[in-house]
């Protein structure tokens, strides 16, 4: 268990996320012109620090993605994209994505139409448990998502998430975890524990 900390610093949402690009013009066109996100800041600098790595001169530029957040890119001048930074095909690499929030189904539909009108391939609406999303790719093949909340996340969600993750970590520690059925079975004792806690609380 983690020791209780005396200081509880808070986070206040996303400032920016950043990724490298080797397609400057295509990236600017996609984010500024197709998505319509304002270009709000750009650092252009001589490579500094990391002398051993011979840090390239670079641009670091930011597009406004709403609610005081930005999505940013690095462009390393005169470099080639290393093979390990090419986005791999397949579902696993899609886990590394940015998801932006909209506030209604109508807004989500507007985004789908706008992207399609610019020739961007966009998924159908996908409803997950608590969100509904569309998915697409940028010119760097980075996966992007626009999503709307279907309901607020409440206490039962957090209790359930804790039970799932505790059960999962226990299976991971076993070194013999191979499928989701094992997780669902192992979770029962954690669910029962949460029910007992709830009943004790109710009894006062």
């Amino acid at each position: 268990m983690i020791k209780p900390l005396e200081i509880h610093p808070k986070l206040h949402g996303v400032d920016h996320t950043a990724r490298p690009t080797w397609k400057l013009r295509d990236t600017v066109h996609f984010y500024r012109d197709i998505l319509g996100l304002p270009l709000v800041h750009c650092i252009s600098a001589k490579g500094w620090g990391r002398e051993k790595e011979n840090h390239a001169d670079f641009l670091h530029f930011f597009f406004d993605s709403g609610n005081e957040s930005t999505i940013a890119f690095f462009y390393y001048i005169g470099t080639q994209q290393p093979a390990e930074l090419v986005v791999p095909k397949g579902y696993m690499a899609m886990a590394n994505h940015t998801a932006w929030r909209v506030e209604s189904e109508a807004e989500l539909l507007d985004w789908q139409r706008r992207l399609e009108s610019h020739g961007v391939k966009v998924s159908q609406f996908v409803q997950h448990e608590i969100i509904e999303s569309i998915y697409f790719r940028d010119p760097n093949w980075y996966p992007l998502e626009i999503t709307r909340s279907l309901r607020d996340v409440e206490e039962p969600d957090a209790v359930d998430a804790t039970a799932t993750i505790e059960a999962a970590m226990e299976l991971e520690d076993s070194g013999r975890w191979k499928d989701i059925e094992q997780l669902w079975r192992n979770k029962v004792k954690f669910v029962q524990e949460s029910q007992e806690k709830h009943s004790e609380k109710a009894r006062g």
Binding site: V126, Q127, H128, E129, I130, L150, R151, E154, E155, P156, D157, V159, D160, A163, T164, L171, S174, R176, W177, I180, E181, Q182, W184, R185, N186, K187, V188, F190, V191, S194, Q195, K197, H198, S199
Partner: protein, 94 residues
């Protein structure tokens, strides 16, 4: 006692309804944030009865399972009672 737990949130409510309609189970009253759907020996649920899309359907046992899955695809879910260890028979022999 074989069965599965269902978190009391809107997106899983139809799973409880479909289980009740199957007539082969007993839905226990909610304790904490979960309902327990108890079945005797086996139960079969059809996705069309739950009106769930695949993204929710394939996570529908996320509340916890006391039983064994014998079939789980886009159409149906079949569960049976089990005494097998969670990590499998090989693991239990070690």
């Amino acid at each position: 006692m074989s069965g599965f737990y269902v978190l009391d949130v809107p997106e899983f409510a139809s799973l409880v309804d479909a289980a009740m309609k199957s007539g082969r189970c007993k839905v226990h009253p909610k304790i904490g944030h979960y309902r327990f759907v108890e079945f005797d020996r086996e139960i079969e649920l059809l996705r069309r009865d739950t009106h769930m899309n695949e993204a929710v359907w394939f996570g529908c046992l996320t509340g916890g399972l006391d039983g064994k899955i014998t079939r789980f695809d886009g159409e149906r879910l079949k569960l049976v009672a089990t005494n097998e260890p969670i990590l499998g028979l090989d693991a239990a022999r070690r």
